[in-house]
Subunit: 71 residues, 12 copies
């Protein structure tokens, strides 16, 4: 296990509900094509404003996943 | 639209409820005097503690808004 | 009051529920041994993923507390 | 002169032509209301893409200007 | 639109002509295989020197593009 | 009190005497127009040199002040 | 050569032996699917501890490789 | 001597007089319980404002001290 | 397991042999008094020079360990 | 070639024309006394303003050059 | 004047008296061999401790000076 | 000794063997012309890849040395 290699990709998830939901949305979309996702790191949190209110949150994360053996 | 100029101001919002609410409180107060707010970026998240519990969250954001034409 | 000295310690709290809960969990554990906690600063936000979903959030904070007089 | 006080504001200028033009656009707009602008610092450079080409550049700057005496 | 997920990739473009051209070269190459590129952020600007002159500029950018639905 | 909103502005103060005096000079000038200043953070310290000696110190600070109610 | 475009990916390699070996392990795994790797940059160095000893090193790198022509 | 191990702790000292005095106040308080303090690094400088004047300086430092042998 | 709380401490280890050995020396000394150390992060790498050669390496790490239950 | 040693120096170049010209001006001046300059990295971009227009750009770069053998 | 080229060097000055004095000591020593020093930027502030007191301050600065014409 | 002034220079050393060797190579080359080198700080670690293997490591360091008296 100490020889595992991981790859990290950078994603931006959005949600009108909040930070946690924006992260989950990014992970759900990524899970359609990426297997073995293990952890994420929040890189940036921002959002768009409409009429003085938060319209949606936009959270940038890095996601680490195990690089599988080719065989 | 590609010639828009934006100004960014730095605000600190507070709330006993959480990060999202602290951001919204800052935006609501700013909306009293600033028009055309477009986006925000979370710069710092901190909070005050009372009796071992989070008393209130304090979130610093930068808010970007369109600089309107003078005429 | 202007001569107070504070010490800051670094903690990592976890929670399946979200960022705010992870911070509170770290503070509750620290409150068992540390008195006079005054403020915290969020240093890093990350989490672990299971089956494409956030399994638990992991938030690193610095906590400041008053260094009490020795007498 | 060694007692001057300056204020710094943060602006985002845009231009389809390039970085230098985006900065100048921000300054031209600011010059409508701010006097005594002295220097700027480039904080961030980004841009929007349409059809695989840079549609417009977007440069964030801080602008320093002399705070004038009240009398 | 508030539920969009974006992926960011990191590219290095080169050009003997300048920063803007190096960025466009990176985007043009990426456009051969990546659809829906939306924005870029300049991460680093450097260059190589020959005979005391800039031989070519080398600009590192992050490019954000919409992750399309799988169906 | 936990719902206060603060605004932060960035100032540069100068003084031939030292860092503390440069900060106070910035605050004194700001106090002519800004009410309810609460705290400052030192962002950058630099200075100008004449004949091998520090001619004056130049300290950049961010100043936080309470945003007052509109009524 | 001055018009080359490079892509950078982020990998995490592990090894019980040390930093250099962890980097080489990440490169060896990547070489199974990526051609034309040219350089790497160490982003973060960390490790896991068992019984007071380093169990394995974990090094995050960015790897740059030439984006090949599509023909 | 080349095998010494040091521990670093983070402290915040305050003083109405200035930066140097705030650092010394933090060290004096720490010296009541920590032996063998060797060096400090200034991490952050800030302060509180009353009536447009610096009420007290608040300086965050890291202090390194030799970890003594257990026997 | 998702509710664990960790504390992080900052240590500086030294060794004439290299970076890995300096880290292990810091961990060995810490293991005399700290239980349940789980991971470390390298914060800074430096060293002292004698006669144009590296006399000893000095590596600053943060060490995370599980905060045990009080009962 | 893998044993080359490089030295990096920090320069600030100026130009009324733009960023690329400011960098080239710094290199041209350095080329009068430094041989074997190989690459540069842009560290900071700023400029001075006169009458609401960019008077000249000022770009800080680090320049790497091969340290030649003493014989 | 808009075509001036500056070089920046990094110095560490020391003083038992405080930050300002440590900076001046570095400048005084540099003035023995460097002409045309124009400005400095404080990069790092630290110090050594003896018997729980600051023994001397150690301030790292970057100093910018005009590169003179070769003729 | 508390009045010493140090100068810091930035070097890049290379080695096919590893990080420690790359640092020593930079110091050995510098020792040909610089006296009184006292310490170094690792600024950046990178390397070049050939055929999926590390061809050589390239480590950027800052080296501090005592500025000697002119007499």
């Amino acid at each position: 296990m100490s020889n595992h290699v991981y790859k990290k990709i950078e994603l931006v998830g959005s949600s009108p509900n909040g930070i946690e939901d924006a992260v989950q949305n990014a992970l759900s979309k990524a899970a359609e094509t990426v297997r073995n996702m293990r952890w994420f790191e929040v890189v940036e949190t921002r959002g768009y404003i409409e009429n003085g209110k938060v319209a949606h949150w936009q959270v940038t994360i890095k996601v680490g996943f195990t690089v599988e053996d080719e065989s």
